[in-house]
């Protein structure tokens, strides 16, 4: 396959949705550029207000960054969620839409999900209040860990430049819930004294 490389400005325009269609189409139809990831990360690095090295963008606002010897999830606002091997949602704010009225706000037609069977979980950044992800799941569904990247394999075997330190590739979220369970309800300051609506119908 031929070696292709686009100027950084083109990648920036792609990110910002500024590429004209004919240019975008030719990028879609052409061979991929080998240095895309590096230029992509370089453009994003210029956009964030902090200095930590971006290892992997996760969403519009969330990045896995190298902080000292740690790899953490960080919001563009600067809020830090902790080790990337824990599901960041467990460190976010959560609001659950589980009533007819709240679901009507988002889905004004009859096709909205049915409360009691399905709930909509909105995850916000505690630092800036931005909405980071929205999940729809049955009541009682464990938080979905969308993506646990195998960073060491990616950098070592696919990009051919290993990261400085190697971390065990494992989901640490269960350790977090284990700690919460041990700490119990006494460990938190309740913000809502109302009893939650019972889900059983």
């Amino acid at each position: 396959m031929p070696e292709i490389s686009y100027p950084k400005e083109v990648i920036r325009d792609l990110i910002e949705g500024k590429l004209p269609w004919n240019q975008l189409k030719s990028i879609i139809s052409g061979y991929k550029d080998n240095d895309r990831f590096d230029k992509y990360v370089a453009v994003l690095q210029e956009k964030v207000p902090w200095q930590e090295r971006i290892l992997l963008p996760l969403t519009d606002e969330l990045y896995i960054v190298q902080k000292g010897k740690e790899r953490i999830v960080k919001c563009s606002c600067g809020y830090e969620f902790g080790d990337y091997r824990e599901n960041w949602k467990l460190k976010a704010l959560i609001h659950v839409r589980d009533t007819e009225a709240e679901l009507d706000e988002i889905y004004p037609y009859p096709s909205k999900p049915e409360p009691g069977y399905c709930e909509m979980r909105e995850h916000y950044c505690p630092g800036c209040g931005i909405q980071l992800e929205v999940d729809t799941v049955p009541f009682g569904y464990p938080a979905v860990f969308d993506f646990l990247p195998d960073l060491d394999t990616f950098y070592r075997d696919w990009l051919r430049r290993p990261l400085d330190t190697k971390l065990e590739f494992t989901d640490l979220s269960y350790e977090l819930t284990r700690r919460w369970s041990a700490e119990g309800r006494e460990s938190i300051k309740k913000t809502d004294t109302k009893a939650r609506r019972r889900k059983k119908v």
Partner: protein
């Protein structure tokens, strides 16, 4: 003495293929692509001759088909297969079916068809049963073996979605309610249906006996055979031109070349790791199956937790542990072919960017599906009438996984996903003159919108996920095949999309009026979308999920015909209908609402039927949406100002009939929204502790409890559930 290369049986050739792949990692052990290296131009010419044979077969043979489903929508495919069934290349069209032919050929081999009924030059074989590698009985396959001097060197194959399958309960090509295999309609295993390149006469009689639209189905059968024979003839010419040795080696090299191509794409666009996604839907059987099937007279929640592990060597390991049990609904996927076909709907549009659609990617996938689940059923009495659908709806989660990956990797231009809202309207009836009729209208299936991407809104009424060549077609042509159903309008109503910094594509709504219903008329709707839920339609990066369902509103006993006769016009959207009712202009006796798939519902003259498919998922926080895009949505009527303010924080006012968004007021409103979020939301830990008490007390609705029983019954999925909620190992429901 077998019919394969050098006197081998096809069974021996199958074993040889699998052994060489396992031993070397290369397709057929081809470490070197000698023909490609020796003369790339010759190989390209060879490849194009074969691909063109398939495309030409399709474009010519489709004209024999009775319906626009094939001619316009493109619901057919022609393929060239290895003797073992691997697809070398194919036409455009219903591309996923490249993956199931392999399984059907394997069934013929395992069943000993080489000895009985024997495979000879000029034979014609056919199959549509999901139990033998098919998707669902609507998808009918035809195979014509290609021989050279007594050796089976390839297969030509054609497949299309037929008009009607003869289900027991109601007319449809996709009967969504079928309690057992005995009500599914006509599903047949691989059969020899002709020889000497001629279809046996009894074959056409069977279509007339077994289905409601025998004549349509016979024409489609003729089409598949004609196209397959066209491929057969071209391949014979190619062998004569290139030589049999080149042909044998060349078709294997094409597959190894394609395997390398997709492997490279995966490494350039994906990221190794573990991806998780939740998917579930509801099969609403209650009240639909009649008193003869009490065991099926209930609603079945169908859940599949998806864990995809992309390993460092570029392989996809798909683990569906915890998937809901098999049951008396129609979503059981009974064979490897059904499952691989469904997965092809995922990987074809994401990775196979090639001159030939083929099955090389299939060798990168391993999957784990619990035995006894609806995706790996053991009870042969269960219905499989949408067996394909049960698995195929995983394509949306898997597309979403790719989308997430492409974003992280920076190949933003490749992200493509859709939720799958838009199915088949399947009316039937008897005309006034006594002529029975039935049809499957694919217009809604061809007008899915797409999810938003990280730098653009989703497309509206643009595509069909399972058919990359789809076209929603002309209303007038669809109307021709469903005489009493007159389409008054198809429109993109306001606010029928999912919100985000980039919004999902707009949903579409159709309004039909019943004119001259005849002696009898009813409609049903086959939908991948489930009622009462939003399953796999995740938004991303803070965007909202798409509404994963079609929905239907039927207005009975109306005066719509009278209004038209008086020249007073007619309403064209649901909001307009409701407005006309409120104004007293439109009189309505009864309003019926159905969500998702719809079993047979009778209609009569003057009834209005509204079919709507929700728009797709958004990307990014809505309060980040560019103000100029909001102004455009308001001025084009896609969004109402109230939604603009409540969801997007956009403060707009109309100036000389044009909506303008005020930047300063909007900034303040958006800050207010973000502040409100922080006030009403809880730290996850606090929510978890409260929620856990409900989980510990097992306060689940019955259907939700049904889902978790199967999760907890599976060692891996159960451990994850118990580990997240920190309930004991003995926790059961």
């Amino acid at each position: 003495m077998g019919i394969g290369e050098g006197g081998k049986t096809i069974a021996e050739m199958l074993e040889e293929r699998d052994r060489l792949i396992a031993e070397t990692g290369y397709f057929y052990g081809l470490k070197e692509l000698e023909l490609h290296d020796e003369d790339p131009a010759k190989m390209t010419r060879f490849n194009w001759r074969l691909t063109n044979a398939c495309i030409t077969a399709k474009e010519s043979a489709k004209l024999l088909s009775a319906t626009p489903t094939v001619r316009t929508f493109g619901e057919c495919l022609f393929m060239l297969l290895l003797p073992q069934g691997d697809c070398i290349t194919a036409s455009h069209g219903l591309a996923g079916h490249v993956a199931s032919a392999r399984d059907q050929i394997a069934y013929m081999v395992r069943l000993g068809y080489e000895d009985n009924p024997k495979i000879r030059e000029g034979d014609i074989f056919a199959c549509n049963s999901p139990r033998y590698g098919g998707g669902h009985s609507a998808d009918n396959y035809t195979y014509v073996p290609i021989f050279h001097e007594g050796e089976l060197v390839a297969w030509a194959a054609g497949i299309n979605h037929i008009a009607e399958v003869g289900s027991a309960l109601y007319s449809a090509s996709v009967p969504i309610v079928s309690p057992t295999t005995y009500t599914d309609g006509w599903a047949y295993p691989p059969m020899k249906i002709g020889d000497g390149f001629q279809i046996a006469k009894w074959w056409n009689l069977l279509w007339k006996e077994k289905t409601r639209m025998g004549n349509f189905n016979i024409l489609d059968s003729n089409m598949r055979v004609a196209g397959s024979i066209m491929i057969h003839e071209t391949v014979k010419n190619v062998i004569e031109e290139f030589g049999i040795d080149y042909f044998r080696k060349g078709i294997r090299e094409i597959l190894e070349r394609e395997r390398r191509r997709v492997e490279t794409i995966v490494r350039r666009q994906m990221i190794p790791g573990i991806y998780k996604h939740a998917y579930w839907r509801l099969s609403e059987n209650k009240g639909q199956v009649g008193p003869s099937f009490p065991f099926a007279d209930k609603d079945f929640p169908i859940h599949t937790p998806i864990e995809l592990h992309l390993t460092g060597d570029g392989r996809f390991s798909i683990d569906l542990s915890g998937t809901s049990r098999e049951d008396y609904h129609s979503w059981n996927a009974p064979s490897d072919g059904t499952r691989r076909l469904a997965l092809a709907w995922w990987w074809l549009p994401q990775f196979v960017h090639s001159i030939c659609i083929n099955t090389a990617f299939d060798y990168l996938i391993d999957y784990t599906i619990p035995e006894g689940s609806h995706l790996n059923p053991t009870n042969e009495q269960l219905s499989t009438s949408i067996g394909l659908g049960g698995m195929a709806t995983l394509m949306t989660p898997l597309w979403n996984i790719c989308k997430r990956c492409f974003f992280s990797r920076g190949v933003l231009e490749e992200d493509w996903s859709a939720t799958g809202c838009g199915g088949l309207l399947e009316p039937e009836g008897v005309l006034e003159v006594g002529v029975p009729w039935s049809f499957g209208m694919f217009g809604a299936a061809g007008s899915w919108s797409t999810d938003a991407g990280s730098f653009r809104d989703g497309l509206s009424a643009a595509t069909c996920g399972f058919n990359p060549q789809s076209d929603m077609g002309e209303v007038e042509e669809w109307d021709l095949y469903e005489p009493p159903l007159v389409c008054l309008a198809r429109k993109l109503p306001p606010n029928l999309f999912a919100h985000g910094k980039f919004r999902g594509g707009l949903g579409i709504s159709w309004v039909f009026l019943v004119v001259n219903a005849g002696q009898r008329l009813s409609i049903s709707f086959g939908s991948g979308g489930g009622p009462r839920i939003i399953g796999p339609a995740v938004g991303m990066s803070g965007g909202y999920p798409g509404g994963y369902t079609d929905w239907h509103v039927i207005f009975s006993n109306t005066n719509a015909l009278e209004l038209i006769e008086k020249g007073m016009g007619y309403p064209t959207t649901l909001p307009e209908i409701m407005q006309w009712i409120n104004e007293g202009k439109l009189k309505v006796g009864k309003i019926q609402y159905v969500s998702g798939g719809m079993p047979s519902i009778p209609l009569k003259d003057g009834d209005l039927y509204v079919l709507s498919s929700h728009g797709e998922a958004g990307w990014g926080d809505p309060v980040e949406r560019d103000l100029s895009l909001i102004e455009k949505d308001l001025n084009e009527g896609w969004m109402t100002p109230g939604v603009g303010k409540d969801i997007y924080g956009a403060v707009a006012q109309s100036v000389d009939g044009k909506w303008q968004v005020d930047k300063n007021s909007t900034n303040k409103e958006r800050e207010k929204i973000k502040q409100t979020r922080r006030e009403k939301a809880k730290p996850f830990k606090e929510w978890w502790l409260e929620e856990r008490e409900l989980v510990v007390n097992k306060e689940f609705k019955e259907e939700v409890s049904y889902i978790y029983q199967d999760v907890l019954g599976n060692a891996k999925a159960g451990a994850q559930f118990r580990g997240f909620w920190r309930v004991g190992e003995d926790y059961q429901l």
